[in-house]
Amino acid sequence: MRAPKVLIPVALGTNRDGDLADAFEAAGAEAIRMPLEALRHGESKLADFQILAIPGGFSYGDALGAGRLFGLDLVGWFGDQLREAHESEMPILGVCNGFQAIVSAGLLPGEADNPGVLTGNARGTFECRWVTLRPEPGNDSIWLSELTEPIRCPVAHAEGRFVAANLGAVEQRNGVAFRYLDGVSGELANGTYPANPNGSAGDVAGITDSTGRILGLMPHPENHIWSRQDILRGRRTGGQALPMFNAAVAAVRS
């Protein structure tokens, strides 16, 4: 059986495209990095792929707001293709700058009357550190279906504090996918730095849309696929995020 194909679109300034490709390849998919220009000129269509994964980085240098212009491209150039893909139940992932882009494009939280934004970290600076994420048990997204334990992975962002016009509505429909935990105590970070690196209300690290097929998150699960990458290498076992990618690849295979 042919490996499912993952489209990883690259805007000027995208930089974790290779990382995301490595993670999907490790999960058995064929990952294709493609510049937006090539997509725009019809080199491929979204319908040629089974998964769409928007990578991290600094698209357009974060000019005018992190992910904003990437989001504008998605809506302006590929709006129809995105609608079709979503209707055909394609899993869509946005990581870090990709999360910022799909929130800006309105794909997340996904309700027309509830816009969201990823805004400046509470401490006002770029922050790179390993964090611990709890997959939320009430969220039945396919992306979370093989995650049974908290995962460790790095964050690397300056604008990761999730704000929605109505966060309660997202909570209500079990739309929160990941929350930041205190990795030492195992308790929720409860807004405290550094376990919650950006000050997001409710320790929200990632959310899904109402179908569960669109997942966006600030941390980088694609950077913890192998145990050798783990900051706790040799001290603790487990914690990898590979099952998240396996789950999506398995879902589109079946």
Binding site: G13, D19, L64, R129, R228
Partner: protein, 948 residues
């Protein structure tokens, strides 16, 4: 109808915390602020009505959840002080450019856009006019790249306009000129050429029978600059002793010491050394590592953000310039004391805090945006760095063996990838090769620029794809000197014919020589028989490209502008015509003072050392660098169970490789020893780099070294004497360690000249970077101690040296004694420990460096959140001495016998304990009585996490 609009974008960002960087910097200048609120002000010009401008603002500028906008004139501020800042026209302005692009995308095209800042200041008591000006001038803006004014709506938009056309080409009367006139020409244009060099130019053009153009003389000045030609490192040097007798003749420091060491070692893993943009060494059977480290000192002193930013950009381009994919950056930064009294600052010098914050932001911005992990570095504070801060940036890349073409052919097209040129960044190579003065900031301001890292990320994608498809025959980066250096160098044998009319520019009105020399960043130059596939690739990845000429094969460098030939130079003269410098060095003999025997409070001294800014945790800085992107990082700057313990070296698995090997980096630097004994200092930093690499898993028998010198004025015989001694030390240490130099960079003239003529030279500073390979990455020791009950071994001598030590630094008094002496037996200990690491016997390790064993034990225990019981002597040479080939090593009891077999020089000195303290002395009962130390992890944390 074309109109200009100014929109204020809210809500503003209001800062009130005393430790906010803006408020803190203002306080440093004696400007107490209660609060400062920053608004963006978007300036837009186009054929737009109010509704259309509103659409642009809503869709592109305003936060969709909480944001708003209003005409800037309607944003009023009662009784409040307002300062406005904005970029100078022509400075890299990514936000403005993207606003123009995105407005067109939403069908509201505009002609011009730029985004400035409005600052609302709250202060009581009210600021004086002097304070207001200082706040605007020194805190909120940088003269080199920005404008400022006081009052709301007081600052004009500052759109990029075409410049008045400069007279096309100037002819310089060199033929027949007197020596005085030659010097007037050199000084007037800040060419950085001395009289002998100008005389050589005069005789060449006398022979040719015409005068040079401005473009020709500028090309010569760039090519012959210290920055490009390394005149001091190639100079003939008479070395004298203190009696003034010539004791040695050096035929070029580079050839006689650095290259000589590499040639003697003749290492099979070195594939290319000293000949290209970067060195190439073997990684495994399929891949090579490319490595390079650069300095960017002068620009960083003037515009810290832009200087450091383009410093990282430049060294990353060096790696792209050998067809390698950049996989790691490092940065070694040297600053003046952050708490320096501003009243002590000479005119024209930025405060160390301002320099530091700007440099760190610049390093982080570039590395983060280009997506290359920053895996290691150092920050060193010393008062000599106040007027001449140092910025070293290094980069490592990976490429398939044999994939880097280096032979342009006659008829090949010259392809330039990357952005348009402007007047910013003209003359960087000559500027960086001269001493700095108070007025340097004004006259050399145009030599400094802001980088655009996302363009360089595009260059990586395009060049890697072009390399894999075999589309070019040679490549180099466009750095100092712009096209004049890059094309000039590639054409040094073939010659080239270049048409500047094909070079994209930011605005009209540039003189030919300005286009030719502009250092617009983020450009690469390629030679290709058929340029079309490269141009297509560039378009696919959104990178600008142009064909600007051909390599001819006639040995002449010809440059045309507006149909006229403005350069027509013989390449042999250009590249080989620079007269050798002849210099005199005065070699000081080193006679250390007897050390005075004052007693030291060991506990207080350890805490003071932990809190010294050079030793204290750099977490606040390192968190702002992405050290994880690419997913290869194994040993990162911080580790341990809480992720906040300092690592020694760095290790990363290069993307695309098998995963069976890791690339390892160790760094050594010291600011204190060079003035005592530059020869010994060189050995010391080589050893430190090797130690750090070994702890991160490297095989010490397959290391390659990068040297970076930052010294003062080489025309001063004492300074040059120190440089000669340092090079001798590098040579001898490299041979002893069997580790060849493969690339390097010298930065000289790091001297600040005061208006009264007195000079502040930089401390003789040598940064050594060791790059190697971990062949069993799974066995790389962890950061921080791992488990209570494990044994602690000391490898190497118990006692270290105290001359030039950090102990004396924190005690505020040099108390004599020798600096650490060269130790040819150290390599044996490095090999033994590496063998034990290779067998998986080492749980964790840490090296005593700045501050010695006591500091190392505290850092190591804190990183692992466990205690240490160490039975060591408590004299100051044991606790605080520094020296080569020493390690603290943690081994499980089961592995201890085998460990000692492999590391015979290891001595068991204690255990890891389940306690919460580091205890050093003679046994658990009499530690304090014996003059030992007990420090709890909390005390260590408080001291070590002090924020300078």
């Amino acid at each position: 109808m074309t109109l200009e609009w100014a929109l204020a974008i809210g809500p503003g960002h209001r800062r009130t915390n005393a430790d906010d960087p803006v408020i803190l910097t203002a306080a440093t200048f004696g400007i107490p602020l209660d609060a400062i609120t920053e608004y963006r002000v978007a300036h837009v010009r186009g054929d737009l009505d109010g509704a259309q401008v509103g659409t642009i603002a809503t869709r592109l500028l305003v936060d969709p959840v909480n944001g708003w906008f209003k005409p800037a004139a309607e944003l009023t501020h009662d009784n409040e002080l307002v300062i406005e800042t904005g970029l100078r026209p022509g400075v890299t302005d990514r936000e403005g450019a993207e606003l123009i692009r995105a407005s067109a995308q939403i069908d509201h095209p505009i002609d011009a856009a730029t985004i400035g800042r409005r600052w609302i200041i709250e202060a009581s008591p009210a600021l004086t006019p002097d304070q207001i000006e200082a706040l605007a001038y020194r805190v909120l803006h940088n003269e080199v790249i920005e404008r400022w004014s006081i009052g709301a709506n007081s600052l004009a938009a500052g759109f990029v306009e075409d410049q008045p056309v400069t007279p096309l080409t100037e002819i310089l009367a060199v033929v027949g000129a007197s020596d005085d006139e030659l010097q007037t020409i050199a000084n007037g244009r800040r060419l950085g050429l001395n009289l002998i060099e100008m005389q050589q130019v005069r005789s060449h053009f006398t022979e040719v029978g015409r005068n040079p153009t401005d473009a020709e003389i500028e090309t010569i000045a760039q090519t012959w600059s210290e920055h490009c030609a390394h005149k001091t490192f190639r100079a003939a040097i008479d070395v004298t002793n203190e009696a003034g007798e010539i004791v040695l003749h050096v035929n070029g420091l580079l050839d006689q010491y650095l290259r000589a060491a590499t040639n003697t070692i003749d290492a099979p893993w070195v594939h290319s050394a000293f000949v290209d943009n970067a060195g190439l060494v073997r990684f495994d059977d399929d891949f090579d590592i490319a490595l390079k480290a650069e300095t960017h000192n002068h620009p960083s002193a003037l515009e810290p953000f832009g200087g450091a930013n383009t410093g990282v950009g430049g060294v990353v381009r060096d790696i792209i310039g050998v067809s390698a994919k950049p996989i790691a950056v490092i940065d070694i930064l040297c600053f003046g004391p952050p708490d320096l009294d501003p009243a002590a600052l000479p005119d024209g010098v930025l405060h160390p805090r301002r320099v530091r914050d700007g440099v760190i932001a610049g390093v982080g911005d570039y590395g983060n945006k280009i997506g290359v992990p920053n895996v290691g570095g150092a920050i060193v504070y010393d008062s000599s760095y106040t007027t001449t801060p140092l910025v070293f940036a290094g980069c490592v890349g990976i490429l398939p063996v044999g994939s880097h073409p280096t032979e342009p052919r006659p008829g090949d097209s010259i392809v330039v990838l990357g952005g348009a040129v402007g007047r910013d960044g003209v003359g960087g190579a000559t500027f960086s090769s001269q001493t700095m003065q108070a007025e340097t900031a004004n006259v050399a301001g145009s030599s400094v620029q802001i980088g655009d890292p996302i363009v360089e990320k595009g260059l990586i994608d395009v060049v890697m794809a072009a390399r894999d498809a075999g589309l070019y025959t040679a490549i180099t980066d466009c750095g100092a000197g712009g096209l004049s250096s890059s094309i000039g160098e590639m054409a040094s044998e073939l010659g080239a014919d270049v048409d500047l009319d094909s070079v994209p520019r930011k605005y009209q009105g540039l003189a030919g020589w300005e286009i030719w020399l502009s250092e617009a960043q983020e450009r690469m130059v390629l030679a290709a028989a058929d340029p079309t596939p490269i141009l297509e690739l560039a378009a696919r990845w959104g990178v600008d490209s142009s064909v600007v000429g051909t390599f001819t094969g006639d040995g002449r460098l010809v440059v045309r502008h507006g149909g006229e030939s403005i350069v027509d130079l013989d390449c042999t003269f250009l590249h080989d015509g620079c007269p050798l410098h002849h210099l005199v060095a005065n070699l000081q003999t080193v006679a250390p003072m007897q050390r005075s025997a004052d007693s030291v409070d060991a506990r207080a001294a350890t805490l003071a050392l932990l809190a010294h800014p050079t030793i204290a945790s750099k977490e606040a800085t390192i968190r702002t660098y992405d050290h994880e992107v690419m997913g290869g990082t194994m040993v990162r700057p911080f580790g341990g169970p809480h992720g906040d313990g300092a690592a020694n070296g760095a290790a990363t698995i290069p993307p695309g490789t098998s995963g069976d090997r890791a690339m390892v980096i160790g760094i050594g630097v010291n600011a204190l020893m060079g003035d005592h004994d530059a020869y010994a200092m060189a050995w010391h930093v080589v050893d430190e780099a090797v130690r750090n690499a070994v702890i991160a898993g490297a095989d010490p028998d397959e290391l390659s070294l990068l040297d970076n010198f930052a010294f003062g004025n080489p025309n001063n015989p004492d300074t040059l004497g120190q440089l000669v001694a340092a090079c001798q030390g590098c040579h001898d240490a490299a041979l002893s360690f069997n580790a060849p130099f493969v690339s390097g960079k010298d930065s000289l003239y790091n001297v600040f000249v005061h208006p009264d003529g007195s000079a502040d030279p930089v401390a003789p500073t040598l940064v050594l970077t060791a790059v190697g390979i971990a062949k069993q990455p799974e066995n790389i020791p962890l950061t921080g101690v791992v488990a209570a009950g494990n044994y602690v071994f000391l490898v190497g001598p118990e006692r270290g040296a105290l001359g030039g030590s950090h102990l004396d630094l924190v005690l505020g008094k040099a108390r004599g004694g020798a600096v650490p002496q060269p130790d040819p037996s150290a390599i044996e200990r490095h090999r033994e420990l590496a063998a034990a690491i290779g067998e998986g016997l080492v749980a964790s390790a840490h090296d005593p460096s700045e501050g010695g064993l006591s500091v190392a034990a505290c850092e190591w225990a804190f990183a692992g959140r466990l205690g240490l019981e160490l039975r060591l002597a408590t004299d100051e040479a044991t606790l605080f001495g520094e020296g080569p080939g020493r390690y603290l090593v943690e081994v499980t009891p089961q592995n201890a016998d085998r460990f000692v077999e492999l590391v015979p020089s290891a001595k068991r000195v204690g255990d890891v304990s389940a306690g919460d303290a580091v205890r050093i002395g003679f046994g658990p009962d009499d530690i304090e009585d014996s003059g030992g130390i007990i420090l709890t992890l909390d005390e260590i944390e408080t001291a070590w996490k002090t924020q300078p």
